[in-house]
Amino acid sequence: MQKKKDFTRPEYFLNRELSWLAFNERILGEARDKSIPLFERIKFLSITASNLDEFFMVRVASLKDMVEAGYDKEDIAGMKPKEQLKRVSEATHALVNLQYSTYNRSLLPLLDQNGLHVVESHEDLNKEQKKYVDRYFEENVYPVLTPMAVDSSRPFPLIRNKSLNIGALLRKKGETQESEFATVQVPSVLNRIVEVPGEEGSRTIILLEEVIERNMPKLFLNYEVLCAHPFRIMRNADLSIDEDEAEDLLKEIERQVKKRQWGEAIRLEVEAGINKELLDIITHELEIEDEDIFKIKGPLDLTVLMKVYGLEGFTHLKNEPFVPVAVEEFAEEDSVFDAISKQDILMHHPYQSFEPVVDFIRQAARDKDVLAIKQTLYRVSGNSPIIAALAQAAENGKQVTVLVELKARFDEENNIVWARKLEKAGCHVIYGLVGLKTHSKITLVVRRESDGIRRYVHLATGNYNDATAKLYTDLGLFTCKEPVGEDATAVFNMLSGYSEPLNWNCLSLAPLWMKERFLFLIERETKNALAGQNGRIIAKMNSLCDRDVIVALYQASQAGVKIDLIVRGICCLRPGIPGISDNITVRSIVGNFLEHSRIYYFENGGEEEYYLSSADWMPRNLERRVEILFPVSEPALQKKVGEILDCQLRDTLKAQYLKPDGTYDKIDKRGKVLFGSQNYFMEEARKHARKNKKDAYDARVFIPEKKPEYGEEE
């Protein structure tokens, strides 16, 4: 008998940090893609910079913690933390180099050609411009600066995480003693882009730190400024341990955390030509290792490019903004409830408008038959209409229960503010669950209708955030099917701290049941394939790094199941290893919209099953978060979801294939008709919208407006 294959060997897996860096590189690829409008390329470059910042703060910080805690466990790909850190450091340095060569060699010259001149250093300003920036400095900048010098009586100041600073060496005028260190933070309250008068027909900008650098002597009047250079640090500061890490690690680190110096610097970015003495002072004070120093050939912190993207004008260098089209099913109905009662409704954002979701809450808030509204909120936009509607509902006497996830990364403070707002309005606010992040996206509206209680449920792959709904591709489902309603009620009972239901009808919840469910679904395909039937899995997600799931996929692959994965970001699965994963393909689509929907398809011997979820196949989703997996059961909607998967699999424009060695490649485009799935979805949406408009005109009937709704509530 053939020996049972060991699918867990480290060489069958990719390291997740390196895989993430490869993802950021793919985004950088968009910035380098000549076929993309210039300002869009700038935006992509900016995204790679902010992504990298987050990566350092969360992942690199975590790895550093592991090394410091002496945690020596190998990861899924057999790498110890120390080795990972080394490889990550190499890869990030290479990535940063590529960022700046893109910026300097491609984007800067192109901007110049297109009428936006970026003055790289203040010495390059002409006389008139110098006068302008000096005045600008005195009027706007000087008042908000806090220069700080260091000498025996003044200690080295606290350099704030992620802030941009200018370090300088000073010497008292007329003296020859050794130099002193001084620093000033580039104020984040001011726009980092300063527009200066330029040539006719073009615009000229310079960065704020250059303006400050030029005026450094004004800050230290009795001193001579020997040199001044920007620098920026990233700290392993107040962030708790990333939830992705193993439990035993968390315990280990908790023990070690007291020993750790609080807020230790983990990355230093400096201008490439920085004065050696100045650099030595900074590195010494911050106790930073050589490999954590990034010498940057260009402006530090490229997230500033998002501001450049936002400059008015230059519309011909940007994508035509896409306006999400109205959702047909809701167009003919005044009441969202009537529309949902007729049929389940599937929405594809951002091609279709997010407005129905907001309307759903708004109408529920006003509707006299609605008894209760329950919702989970993870990240919401600043001025969220959903929050306003929920508050309104509570004021109208509905029972409103909102689970607000305070642990949403980097959003804590923002979330607390509006959670308080909701509480004031009379909502019952649940501030998350102990030890678990609530990542599921679900809304339940309970309505008392003439034939009894009816429950309307919205389930989605993306957050209730009207702003990101215009940028992220997500799927949302409206239904009032009883089994879903019952499960939704049970979900909220659990989130309110009550016991689990005796059984579930159709939803699967993480962290309790979902992983098992996924493994079951994958293994069912394996069994079918072994029994000589077709086995087929198509899965689309943001990240794939759960070992058990990957092993199940390898087993399925070896049983003959054909598996196509569409994984936007991290993928620890190595496709195409002979005898292990020959039947698996992995592609990643990085486009104008952020691919965010999670879709899971299983052929199930012809009884096809389609699922949507808020969860990726990552341990953190499956084991440490509250997530929901929900089926799409209506055949018409299954077809729709099937088409979305099909289009993504046909994508030849933005799709990149993961190779066995862990690198990605675009397809050879020669002689092929290029097909971009995101473009296709936009076109289709527009076509539908036009058709509906045309139909409306064709009807040749004037439709009187309804009386505006005031004082509906009894």
Binding site: L371, A372, Q399, R448, G452, Y498, N503
Partner: protein, 514 residues
Amino acid sequence: MKKKLFAAIDVGSFELAMKIFEISSQSGLKEIDHIRHRLDLGTESYKTGKLSYDRMEELCRVLKEYAGIMEAYKVTEYRTFGTSAIRELENTMIVLDRIKSRTGLDMSVLSNSEQRFLDYKSIAAKGEAFETIIQEKTAILDMGGGSIQVSLFDNGSLFATQNMNLGILRLHEQIKRISPRSGQIRGILDEVIHTRLNEFKKLYLKEKEYKNLIVVDDYISNIINRYQKGNEKKGFMSANAFMKKMENWENAGLKTMAKELDVPEENVLLYVIAGLLLKGILEITGAVQIWAPGVTLCDGIAYDYAEQNKLLKQSHDFEQDILSCARSTNRRYQGSRQRSEALESIALTIFDSTRKIHGMGARERLLLRIAALLYDCGKYISLSAVSECSYHIIMRTEIIGLSHLEREIVANVVKYNQTDFAYYEEIAKVGGIDREDYLKIAKLTAILRLACGLDRSHKKKFTSVKASLHENELWVQVEALESIEMEKGLFQENGMFFEEVYSIRPILKQKKTF
């Protein structure tokens, strides 16, 4: 018309549960929401007879939340019942009062037999499925924390039911106290369970003649839902398949069992105990099919409410169950079926013809029937202290479906049928009897005594008995072939109490039949 919404709250020993139902005659009971909160009231209550401050706080907090949920659903009608943990408190009344003032909820306490009856109603709420299954010989095993209840069905109605102190948590406590090695646990449990079940068997079961076993509990239902085969109806499993599963676990160990059932390891022993109890019952009854309808007390509460308020068509005749239980009790104490039935018939004739004066309803009529059926069961123990013994037998016999108070009424009616009637001050010393109940006892006793007077010779002399009111007289007309001089005398004697209670003089008239 909007459907009626109803909330049923069960304050159990280890869990506070609330179910919200939508009730309509077309679609019956529809569960809208089921909320559960784990709260161990039992341990404290059983041990100390009181609830600690923290427990009480949590109980009130959760009940208040439940009241809030009810309000959100705009529920107007509800029932809140406490079971054994509340029942066994020393200060039940105080606790109920505090709950009322803290949460606004009116809560009452169920006696064991009331609770079991509601559990049983919860199964009956399943309607046709239940009616079909009890056409064959069926046993119901209702497993609670403190005790288990086994009920037996024949010919579509219940005929015996027995409570045994073999509650899952109680056994668990006992085992923990002995703290045996894990290998011994099963052996010890098996022994405890078997001894008790064999006693039960001797009393009620002759052969292994049962086909079905219905289980109401939290554990077996979970196992069946998890492991039943695709082709079986929901909640059904064959006894063989279940036993095999248990055997597998016995070999695999508790850890594996916990993992497979997805329950915390410290709880898995509860499943083992439930399994052993079920195994024991399967062995003594010989049942081949298990049905776990997955119902809870809340279902029974709602069904009971709906039935009382005529929101539902009754699917099962519970009165027949109560009567058949009473008959089988009578049989157990060697009462004559013929005689008790004759007495029952006479008593009912009198009851029905005097409806106008006594003003009692169907429920009291039922109590009278039971009293008539059990009127001299005490003679099994002592011929000289029949009434006292009858009283105690009735009070100690579970007549499922009767509340504790109703049982007290029946027992008193039987007692005072043959001894001098004790008046209010005397009777009220016994807990829970108020003026109204007292009057019921008096009125029913009067009727039963009169009926007994007619049947004293136990010879069933009459071929027919009719009764009718004529102003201040009650004419009881009998047809008899023999002389009824003795009855005439006794009738007058027994009639004095009737006269006292109703201010009506009963007169016996004989219609001679030649």
